[in-house]
């Protein structure tokens, strides 16, 4: 550790005792390697043990530690003090989600949206027998969905999405990207079922293509691209539906 310090402001909220959220200031020893998450751990261990936040893997794969760093959605473990020093760092719970406590948000709606898009292989016929071995899938076929399978469910994209901010019914970027992941998988035959979700008003057509979801995504999933691809599919569905009504 050096003698240098950095100022960190955390938006606190404890529902049992605070009427509304309030900022609290901390001074933390500065080291260029130190992540925002490590700064939070320092605060919890040495300055105020009541500060609450989610975390686990420390390596940007478990998706627990999303928060707003100077108003931008980030993973705490992959944002570093060196990118802010000597300026103050302001930390808040992820935008567009209700605050559960301090930096912890209520994830229920996000999880529900993941659950609703049928994120599993819906096979052509009955389950393929294990003795038949694996499906064949060429690297080119994998490439069609690979990017959309990289989502760590951190929720940063919902925090960035102005549409989700306005209307919580919007299916939203991560869930739609996951939907595209399965629709584009050569092993799956469930597209038609999922397109019903896509075609709804709260499906892809709510998206106004701001594209900020893809900018903040820490894993390069590019949900905005997934949504554009689904819009094309949805338009096709619409056209086909005009000539061939159910």
């Amino acid at each position: 550790m050096t003698d240098k310090t950095i100022e960190i402001e955390i938006l606190r909220y404890r529902p049992e005792q605070d009427e509304k959220p309030f900022p609290q200031q901390f001074e933390v020893p500065y080291h260029p390697d130190m992540s925002i998450l490590e700064a939070l751990q320092y605060i919890k261990d040495h300055l105020d043990s009541t500060v609450s936040f989610r975390w686990s893997c420390r390596m940007a794969i478990c998706g627990s530690c999303g928060l707003m760093v100077n108003n931008i959605p980030k993973l705490g473990c992959k944002a570093f003090l060196r990118d802010y020093y000597p300026q103050k760092v302001k930390l808040e719970a992820l935008a567009n989600f209700p605050i559960e406590r301090d930096l912890i948000v209520v994830m229920d709606d996000f999880i529900k949206k993941l659950e609703e898009i049928k994120p599993y292989i819906i096979p052509e016929s009955d389950d393929k027998c294990l003795s038949e071995g694996t499906y064949k899938q060429t690297p080119e076929q994998m490439e069609k969905y690979a990017k959309f399978s990289m989502c760590i469910n951190c929720g940063l994209c919902y925090s960035a999405c102005p549409q989700y901010g306005l209307d919580k019914n919007f299916t939203g970027p991560a869930a739609l990207a996951l939907l595209a992941r399965y629709n584009r998988d050569s092993r799956d035959a469930g597209s038609a079922e999922r397109m019903k979700i896509v075609n709804q008003e709260q499906g892809v057509w709510s998206c106004t293509f701001v594209g900020y979801c893809s900018v903040v995504c820490p894993k390069g999933v590019d949900p905005a691209a997934a949504i554009q691809l689904l819009k094309v599919e949805s338009s096709k569905d619409y056209l086909i539906g005009m000539f061939k009504p159910d």
């Binding site: 893997c57 390596m59 794969i61 406590r101 292989i121 690979a146």
Partner: protein
């Protein structure tokens, strides 16, 4: 107190817990499953596994070879019947994951690709680039959503097991967000809580890997087996301990010391293999225990590099080239850039051994049953007997699939013929557990939790690290006893009930201390050197006469655990000298 009746309760929703849940939902549709996890399932530490999962697929490979590699890799402390079942079912269960959508990396023709891994004679490690655990976990989580009979209790923390009439009858859990305790009444319970790497300061593990299930079973009289065998992964990042997968070496990465010399050849792993031509069971493809020990030896000789974050050697991937690194090891590149500021395309990555895996755990038989009727255990928290004294990389992800499936089946079969116990005595037990928990919340001592946690991690590194002595282990044992006493006087500042993480850390610290104690006492009692348990005192060789045995640690509350021993099941591989490099070839001839 809310009471929820279910048939099977599963604690932990990582790879093995989810696999067990799906098994039950698919094949026993009349049963209810409660899937309890202290985090959302996709945060479970399975997510951080990188390299892959072992299962024989190549024509040139065989189940016998996978068996032999695993048993010799485990320094003959494996249950050989268990290993046999495992190798026979690994590829099948990995295929099952593929049918559920796991994006395993493929060959050009669309078939599964496999990579080389340490201690494996043939390439048999299935991989999804370098995010194999991530893809397995998400595939399982998403597949579990198909099944309405699985009721999830996300962000619910397990406070204790409810045992009545010498059988498990359920668990008491805490809804973290609401601060409310619930009694889950179950006919059978599967423990799938993962390892305990967080007892050491430097580890590859997530913050949640705190030995919860191990300690809970241990406190209820189930023996923890082979706890002295702690795996140091040879290539973690200095400081953080973040994992650089063994897949780096499987793809051809090499380890060099400060002189640019591939030092592994000096420790029975040579001769040096040409750059870009890795050879199975040679050099960088040796087993983890030995490669970590080589680092320590180099450190003694002054051949390591001393940097800001401590002593390191280099993992050099430069000769693989950017295309291959991006295809096979993209996450490694991302992590090295972010956490040590090194782009492995252009510079070698500084690495050091860090604690990675607990070979031992809750004792189970070959069918995942524990000695407590109705309780099953799987995955890293369990000791089914697969890994012996040293686990081979990529056997544990397959273990999740193979034994997750088996435990699901076993616990379901048991639940089908069992009845729910009358609720009254269970409620009384649950009330006691809640009262005890509340008393802990009101701890107002003067001991700081962060200090106890730090001192515990440091004393474990010091005393029961890569090399051990009687003196070092005794010092750790004494220190742990001191820390356990101090733990009774901790201070918990936060008395609130909504998402009180300070309180959860306190409970976890209790779990960690008990697990640490089992590790240290099992270690000092083993007066030999085997696999990852290496002593540099008078017991520096393997002693099959006295110690071809599993250790069993029994909890004794405030007293030291009692250590007993049990026989190792040997079916077809008699203990022999464990050799790698050129010697392994001579042996085969």
């Amino acid at each position: 107190m809310q009471i929820i009746k279910t048939d099977v309760a599963i604690i932990g929703a990582g790879g093995s817990g989810l696999r067990a849940a799906i098994e039950i939902a698919e094949n026993y549709p009349q049963l209810d499953v409660a899937l309890i996890s202290k985090v959302y399932p996709m945060r479970s530490h399975t997510v951080a596994a990188e390299g892959g999962a072992a299962g024989v697929v190549q024509d040139s490979d065989s189940l016998d070879q996978h068996f032999d590699d695993t048993v010799s890799g485990g320094d003959w402390l494996c249950e050989q019947d268990v290993v046999q079942y495992f190798v026979e079912n690994a590829a099948k269960q990995l295929t099952q994951l593929e049918h559920w959508g796991c994006p395993w990396s493929r060959k050009a023709d669309g078939n599964i690709n496999v990579r080389a891994f340490g201690g494996m004679k043939k390439e048999r490690t299935w991989f999804a680039a370098d995010k194999s655990g991530f893809h397995i976990l998400h595939t399982l989580f998403q597949t579990s959503l198909k099944h309405p009979k699985i009721t999830r209790f996300d962000e619910h923390f397990c406070l204790d097991l409810v045992v009545e009439n010498n059988k498990i009858q359920g668990v008491v859990i805490l809804d973290i967000a609401e601060g409310e305790a619930k009694l889950i009444q179950a006919k059978s319970v599967i423990m799938a809580t993962g390892g305990a790497g967080r007892v050491y300061t430097y580890n590859t593990n997530g913050g949640i890997v705190t030995g919860d299930g191990m300690s809970l079973a241990y406190r209820h009289g189930v023996a923890l087996r082979d706890m002295e065998f702690i795996q140091y992964h040879p290539t973690g990042l200095p400081g953080s301990g973040i994992l650089m997968t063994e897949g780096c070496r499987g793809e051809g990465g090499v380890l060099i010391n400060k002189n640019g010399y591939r030092y592994l050849q000096d420790y029975g792993l040579g001769p040096e293999t040409p750059l870009g031509q890795p050879k199975n069971k040679h050099m960088e493809l040796g087993p983890r225990d030995k490669i970590s020990q080589c680092f320590w030896q180099e450190q003694q000789k002054g051949n390591v590099i001393t940097g800001d974050r401590g002593d390191v050697v280099y993992l050099d991937l430069r000769h693989l080239g950017e295309t291959k690194i991006n295809e096979r090891l993209p996450f490694i590149r991302e992590l090295a850039k972010a956490y040590v500021g090194v782009d492995p395309v252009h510079e070698p990555i500084p690495v050091r051994p860090t604690v990675h895996y607990t070979m031992g755990g809750i004792t189970t038989n070959a069918k995942t049953e524990t000695s407590l009727t109705g309780l099953y255990a799987i995955g890293e928290c369990a000791s089914v007997g697969l890994h012996g004294a040293n686990r081979l990389g990529s056997n544990s992800l397959s273990e999740l699939a193979v034994f997750g499936q088996l435990a699901g089946q076993q616990a379901a079969e048991y639940a089908q013929q069992a009845e729910h116990h009358t609720i009254k005595p269970l409620q009384e037990k649950a009330q006691k557990i809640i009262a005890r928990t509340e008393a802990l919340l009101h701890s107002n001592g003067n001991e700081k939790m962060a200090d106890i946690r730090q001192e515990m991690g440091d004393c474990m590194e010091e005393g029961v690290g890569i090399y051990r002595t009687q003196t070092s282990m005794q010092k750790t044992i004494d220190k742990l006893a001191e820390l356990k006493a101090r733990y009774k006087h901790i201070n918990i500042n936060d008395k609130s009930s909504v998402f009180n993480t300070e309180f959860l850390y306190a409970i976890e610290l209790g779990y960690l201390l008990d697990t640490a104690e089992a590790i240290a006492h099992s270690a000092i009692a083993r007066q030999e050197s085997r696999g990852s348990h290496q002593r540099i005192d008078e017991f520096n060789t393997r002693n099959d006469v006295h110690f071809l045995k599993h250790s069993l640690a029994y909890y004794q509350a405030d007293k030291a655990p009692i250590i007993k021993y049990s026989d190792v099941t040997i079916t077809k591989s008699q203990p022999a000298e464990r050799v790698y490099g050129a010697a392994s070839e001579t042996k085969e001839k």
